[in-house]
Chain length 438, copies 4
C-alpha cells in the first residue's frame, strides 16, 4: 500500500452510484485513509463524469478530508500503482440494458439483466473490457485488488480468474448485505449478531441457515419472509410474494432474484405489460438516472442526495467499503463474496466462482466450507452454472454457436427457435460493443 | 435359474404391450428357454388380463413352444421362485394418465407423463406398489432380477434401490434402442456396428458420441437429425424439428424427450390445443388401446397385430428380451440401462440411478465409465436429478411439502403459486391411489 | 451459558497438565468469567486428583478470583448443565502408554503413540469411554461443547461425531499453535501477523503456506526450518533435522510428527536404543510426571511450576482457552482445529474429521476452504486416513480382524506377520481396558 | 487397418520375450491376420535383435504363415503406417535394472523395479523415450494403438497420455491375467466363467470380488490363497505366504506385488541376503536371459523354448495378443488394462491412469465403473498414485527436487537423508540414460 494513504481507482467513475461510494469512503476515512480517488470513464461519458467528479470534490471538501479526486479518460495513468480498483461500468450504457430487456420480451421471453438473456449480452460486452483492465493491472498495479461490481458479477469474475494473469479479483453484490439487513430488521436483532450462511452463485445464492448468537432462527425467518405483511425484495425486482408452503418445503432463504426461476410465469406476464408500456426496469432506471444527474449538477449539493436510494443500490457502498477496509486492515471478518470455490460447495468444481461467506484478510477472501448443497436447490444452481460457463466461453471466443447454446440452456429462454431469433437480433443491436463477434 | 427353463413374471400382464413381449420370447426361445410366463394384474383389470392371456396362449400354441402362460391376481403365488420379474403396470390405469396430463394443462403447464408434473404423480402412485413388489421378491424369489419398465423408470428404479432390501432391479426404456435403430438407418449401417455413448437420466440421456467401427460419426449424425427431411422422434413425442445451429452447438444427440425442455414454449402451445380438443396424448393412447383390445379379442388372432406399433413402444420387447437373455446367458454385451451410477458419470453421486451403457452379465449391469458430462448439458441433468430426488422423498414419505417442492423445482412448472393449485387438484383427483398422502 | 459465569468440566482432571489450564483460565478471567471448574477423574487416580485439585485451589485463591474448584469421581454430577467439557484423560494411565511403545519395539516396530500401533491401542481404549461421555453430555448438558484433547485426537473426535448423538465436539492439539509460535520467532514477527494455512489430519497436518501481512513467506520459512542452527520440533519428538533439498521439494511445512513417516528408518534406530535402555518417551514422561507431582504437593506452590514446560504441552492451555473464549465470546477468529471436513479438503470425504483452519464463533468451528491438497502430500494423508477409519471401526465393533487390518495398513508396521504378533500381545496386555474385545 | 493384414511394430524387439509374442500371433493368425512384424531395437542390442529375429523367422516359417519379419534400427521406417505398436524395451538394458536394485539395497532400502526406487529410475529413463515414440506415431501412424508393456507400465502410460499428442496408448501387464488363471485353477473352474473385479494401479491392483457364473466366490478364494499348501505368486516376486487373518480382514485379493508393502520387513531381509550373494532378481534374470539367448541361437530351434516360462512373463503373450485382437475384431470383451480413469474409481482423478476391467472394442478400452474403493485399501493406492505423479513430473522436467521428492514419499524408502544418498548415486550411475537431468 502507498505509504501516505490508499489510492483507489473506479472504472465507470461517472456512474450515478459514485456519490454513494464517496460517502462510504468519507465515513470510514479514519480506518481507510484514502489519499487519491481516480474516477475513470470513457469519452462518451464525459458529461456525467464531470458532474459526478465535481459532486465528489464538493463532498470531500465539505468533509474536510485530504482525499484528492481525479477524473480522467486515461485508464492506464489512473491504474499506475493503484491499491484498489473498483469496476462499476456499463458497456453500452443504459441504452444497451434497454435492448437487453426489450428484445427478448419482444419474442415473449424474459430479458433478465444478469442471469437471463440480458445477462448473457451484458457478459459478452463486459468480459473483453474487464480482461483488458485486468491485464493492465497485471502490468501497472500487480498487487492491487480488482473489486468487481459490474454485472453479471459472478460470470465476469470467473472470466477474469480463468483468462487473465491478474488473479486478484473479487466479485461483489449488494444482495447478501441487503438480505442480512432486511432479516435483521425482521428479527429485530442487531446485524452483527446475525449470521446467514449464504451459498450459491451471484443473484442465485440461498441463505441455507440463519443464526443469531449461535442459534438457528431459520424457521422464524421463513415465517417472516412469507408473511404477506412484509415485502422482502429489492428495488429492482418485482415484489411478488412467495408461496408459504413452497418456502417451508425449500427450507432456506432464496434471493430476490430467485423469483425469476420459481415465478417465471408471473414475472413474464408483468414484464410483458411493462414492455408494452415502455416501462421496463431499464427504462425506469434511465429516467431515474436522468433525474439524479440533474440533482448532481446543483453546485450547492455537497452530500449524497437521498433520492439515490430509489435506484436500487442499497448498501452497495457498504459492500464495497467494508471489503476494501477488511483487506487493508487485515480484519478477518466474514463477508459474502464471489470468489473461487476451492471445495466450499462440494457440488461445484474447485475452480469455479461461487458466492459464499468468506473470511477477508490481507490475503483476500477465503471461503468458509459449506459442504454439499441440499439436493433440492442443487439442480437450479447447476443449471445456472452451466449457463455461466457457456456464456464465458462465448464471450472469450466470440463463438456464435456458444452464444446460441447459452441462450438455449438458460431456463428463462424456453425455445431453441426463438433463442436463435433473439440472438440474431441482439447481436445486430449490440454489434458495436461486441467486436469479438465480428 | 430353474433347471427346466426360465420362469418369468410380468406385473401388469394385462397391458396392451404384452403380445409384443410374448413375441420377443417366442423369437428367442432357443437362447431363452422360457418355461412359464405369469401374467399378473389386479382384479380391476380382469377383462384385459383375460383377453391378453388368451392371445398369448394362442401365440405360444401357434409357435409350438413348451411355454405355459398363467394369468392370476395372486402376485405372491406368481413370484414364488421366479427367475425374472418384469413390471409394466400403470397404477390408476390410463384414466390416471389423462388426469396427469389434463390437470396441469388446465393451469397452463405441461403435464409430461415422465419427468414433469404427470411424472411426479405417476411416481407417487407407483413407488409404494413397486416397493411392495420388491419386498415380496426379497422373500419369494431373492435371486430374481426385477426388470422395471414402469415409468418414470429412472425414479422408480432409484426408489427401489434405496428403499428396498431387494437390490436386483434394472430400469429399462426403449428410447436408447429406438435412437440407435433410427441412427443406424440414417447412417445406413448395421445396428451392431454402431455404438452410441448414452449418458444421463431416463428420458433425459444424451448420445455423447456415435461410433461406427471405432470411428466417430457424431457430426454426420447431427447433420442428419437436423435435416428437415428426416423426422427423428418417437410416437409419443410431438415431432418438432430441432434448430440446427443449436444442435451443432450442443454437440451431442438429445433424447426425443428433450424437446420438453429446449422447446417448452412450442410444446406447451401444441399441448394446450390438444387439451382444448380433448386429444392429449393420454386420450389418444386410450383410444388406441381400446382399438387394440378389440383386435386382441379376435379368437383367430395368434400373432402380435401390426397395429400395436402405433402405440409408441417400438423395440420395447427387444429391450426387455435382450436384457433377460444377456443376464441368463452371461453374454457380456453392452446395453443402455438405468442402474446405480458408481462413478460412471462423475458429476452425479455414486448411489443415484443413471441411464448409461452397461456390460450385462449374470452379475447384472455394470456401467461403463463416462467421466465428466459436458458442462453444457450438466445443468439440465442436475436439475432433473434434483426433481427426481425430491419426488422419491415425497413418494416414500407422503409429504405434502416435498410434493410441492418437487413441482416447484421442475423446469416445466413455472410458478410456485400455480404449483400449489395443481398439487391440490391432483392430490384430490388421484387420492384413491395415493394412500401415503392421506 | 449459565447466567452467572461459565461452568467447565475437565475429564481426566488429575492430569499433570491441569495447572497449565487453570493458569490459562485465570489469565483470561475478564473475557472468560469461569464460575466453576470441575475436575473429574477415576478412583484409581484419586491421589493425583487431590494433589492437582489442591494446587488449582491455591492458584485461584492467589489470583483472587471467584472460581470454585470441584474434584469428583461422579462424572454425571459434574456434567449437569456444563457449558464446556474438556477431555484430557488417559485410559490405562501412563503404564498403558509404556506398553503402547514398548511392545511394538520389542517386535522391531515403532509404537508411535498417536498415529502408529500405540495410537491404535490408545484409540481402542479411549473411544468407548469418550462415546459414553458424549452420550451423557447429550442427556445432561446437550448445548455444551466437548473440547477433546485426548489422543489420538482426530480419530477420537471422528468416532464421537459418527457414533454419538452429541455432535458438538472439537478436537484440539497444540502442534499447530506451537508451530505458529516457533515460526513467528524464526521470522521475528508478532504471531498475530502470521497466518499458516494448515491442512491435513491431526499430527499429520502440513503448513501449505505462510503469510505475513498478506504476503507469502513460505520459502523463507523452509530455509529457516532446515537451517541446522535451528531445532524445530516439539518436546515429545526426536529432533532429527530435515533434509533441506527434500523440504524444498515438498514445498510446505511438515508437522514434527511427520518425522515418523519421512525418517522412519532413523526414528526406529533411535527408539530401539531407547527401548534397550528403558528410556522410551513414555518412560521418560512417567519420570517427569512423578517429579511434577512431587512439586505440586508443595502447599506453598500457588502458581504453575516452570518445570511443567519440559512435559511437551507448550501452548496446550492457550489452545484450549482460546477456543473456549472464541466460542463464548462469538469472536470469529481463526484457529486450527479438528472438525468435520465439509469439502474444506477436496480430496477427503465431507463427513471425515480433518485438521484445518476454522472460523470460531458461537456456532462452533467452520473450516476455511483449502481446495485440493498438493498431490505430493495427498498420498500419506490418505493412507493415515485409511488407518484412522479402520481403527474407528475396530474400536466401535471390537473386531479382531479390523484391529489387525488397522495395524497392517499403518505405514509404521511393515509386516502382516509381525502385526499379528504385536496385536495378540497388546490385546492381552491391555485387556482390562478393552472390554469390547472380550 | 491395412487392407491386406495387420502391421505390428515391436519396440525393443530384441527382448527375450519376443518368441512368446510371436507364438501368440501364430496361434491367433486366423482371427488376427498379421502381415508384417517389425522388430525394432537400438544398435547396442544388435546381436540380440538378430538372434531373436532369426528365431522369429524360423517360427513363422515352421507355421507356414504369410507373416514377414523385419528387424531394424530405423524406428521411423518401422512406424510408418503401423496398425499396432508394442513397447517392451528396457532403456539401459538389464545392467540398468541391476543398478536399480543394488544401489538402494546398498543403502538398506528395497529397490523394487516398478513402484519403488528402481521403478522411479526406470520411469526416468523410459518416459522421454516413450514420449519420442508417441510423437513419431502421431506423425507416422496416428491411428495406431500403442500397447505399452514397458514398466513401470502405469506411470509410463500416464506420462504419454498427459504429455504426448498421441493419446491412443494402453498399458498392459500380465499380473491380472496370471491372477485370473491361478484362481481359476484353485477354484477348478474354466477361466471364461470367472470374473475378477480388478481395481487399482499397475502392480497395485486388488481383486475386489470374484464371481463365477454371477455368484461371488470371494471368501473361497481368500481361503485358498492363504492356504499354506498353495503358492500364489509370480516368478519375479518372493513367494512369502500371506497372514490368513490379515487377508480375511482385507476382504479382497491383493496383487503379488503387494507383498512389498504389507511385508516390507521380510522382503527387505530376503533382498539384503540376495544382495550380499550377488543374486538380486535382476542378476538372476540376467543369467536366465543369457541362457535363453544361447538357446535362441540354435538354428534348429523353431518354436518358443519351454525354458522361457521361468523368466516370469507367463501369459504376457496372451495379454498382448488378446488386446490386439479385441481391438482389431471389435470384440467387446472385458480385459484388465491401464487406461484413463474417467470416474471408474471414484477416489482418483478422472485424468489419471488406473488398472481396471475395460470393455475393449475398436474404440479402445472403456473402463467399467467400480465406484468407491474400500477405505482400507484406498490409502495405499493413493500413496502410490502420489508417487507416480511426482515421478512423472520428475521424468518430464528433469527436476532433481522432484526426483528426490518421489523417493521420499515412496513407502519403500524410509529416510529423507538416505533418499538423497540413493538419488545422487543413481543419477550418477544412470547418467548416460538420463539426458534430462544434465
Ligand atoms: Mn448484484
Ligand atoms: Mn421410456
Ligand atoms: Mn497433539
Ligand atoms: Mn507388470
Amino acid at each position: 500500500m502507498g505509504k501516505k494513504g490508499i489510492k483507489i481507482v473506479t472504472i465507470g467513475g461517472g456512474s450515478s452510484y459514485t456519490p454513494e461510494f464517496v460517502e462510504g469512503l468519507i465515513k470510514r476515512h479514519k480506518e481507510l485513509p484514502v489519499r487519491e480517488l481516480w474516477l475513470v470513464d470513457i469519452e462518451k461519458g464525459k458529461e456525467k463524469l464531470e458532474i459526478v467528479g465535481n459532486l465528489a470534490k464538493r463532498m470531500v471538501k465539505k468533509a474536510g478530508l485530504p482525499i484528492t479526486i481525479y477524473t480522467t479518460f486515461d485508464r492506464k495513468e489512473a491504474l499506475k500503482d493503484a491499491d484498489f480498483v473498483t469496476t462499476q461500468m456499463r458497456v453500452g450504457l443504459l441504452e444497451a440494458r434497454i435492448k437487453d430487456e426489450r428484445i427478448p420480451l419482444k419474442h415473449g421471453m424474459i430479458g433478465q439483466e444478469t442471469n437471463g438473456a440480458g445477462g448473457l449480452f451484458k457478459a459478452l460486452r463486459t468480459i473483453p473490457v474487464l480482461l483488458e483492465i485486468a491485464e493492465q493491472m497485471h502490468e501497472l498495479c500487480p498487487n492491487a485488488w480488482l473489486i468487481n461490481f459490474t454485472n453479471p458479477a459472478g460470470i465476469v469474475t470467473e472470466a477474469v480468474m480463468k483468462y487473465s494473469q491478474h488473479k486478484k479479483i473479487i466479485g461483489v453484490c449488494n444482495v447478501p448485505i441487503n438480505t442480512k439487513m432486511t432479516i435483521a430488521t425482521l428479527l429485530d436483532v442487531p446485524p452483527d449478531q446475525l449470521t446467514i450462511t449464504f451459498a450459491g452463485l451471484n443473484h442465485m445464492s440461498y441463505g441455507l441457515d440463519v443464526h443469531v448468537n449461535g442459534e438457528s432462527r431459520l424457521n422464524d425467518v421463513i415465517d417472516l419472509v412469507t408473511d404477506p405483511n412484509h415485502e422482502v425484495t429489492m428495488k429492482n425486482i418485482i415484489p411478488l410474494p412467495w408461496e408459504k408452503a413452497f418456502m417451508k418445503a425449500l427450507g432456506c432463504i432464496p434471493s430476490p432474484y430467485h423469483r425469476y426461476y420459481y415465478k417465471t410465469n408471473e414475472i413474464l406476464q408483468k414484464e410483458l405489460e411493462e414492455f408494452k408500456q415502455g416501462k421496463t426496469r431499464a427504462e425506469v432506471v434511465k429516467q431515474l438516472e436522468d433525474e439524479l444527474f440533474e440533482l448532481y449538477k446543483d453546485p450547492d449539493l455537497d452530500i449524497k442526495p437521498p433520492q439515490l436510494e430509489k435506484r436500487g443500490g442499497a448498501y452497495y457502498s457498504d459492500a464495497a467499503c467494508n471489503l476494501i477496509s477488511s483487506i487493508y486492515n487485515d480484519k478477518g471478518d466474514v463477508q459474502t463474496l464471489n470468489t473461487r470455490n476451492e471445495g466450499a460447495i462440494t457440488n461445484l468444481p474447485n475452480d469455479t466462482v461461487v458466492e459464499v461467506n468468506c473470511v477477508v484478510t490481507k490475503q483476500g477472501p477465503i471461503p468458509l466450507a459449506i459442504g454439499e448443497l441440499p439436493y433440492s436447490i442443487n439442480g437450479l444452481i447447476q443449471q445456472i452454472k452451466s449457463f455461466e460457463l457457456v456464456a464465458i466461453e462465448a464471450a472469450v471466443t466470440g463463438s456464435y454457436e456458444q452464444a446460441l447454446l447459452a441462450l438455449c440452456i438458460n431456463p428463462l429462454i424456453t425455445s431453441d427457435v426463438k433463442a436463435k431469433d433473439i440472438l440474431d437480433e441482439m447481436l445486430e443491436a449490440h454489434k458495436t460493443d461486441l467486436p469479438q463477434f465480428q
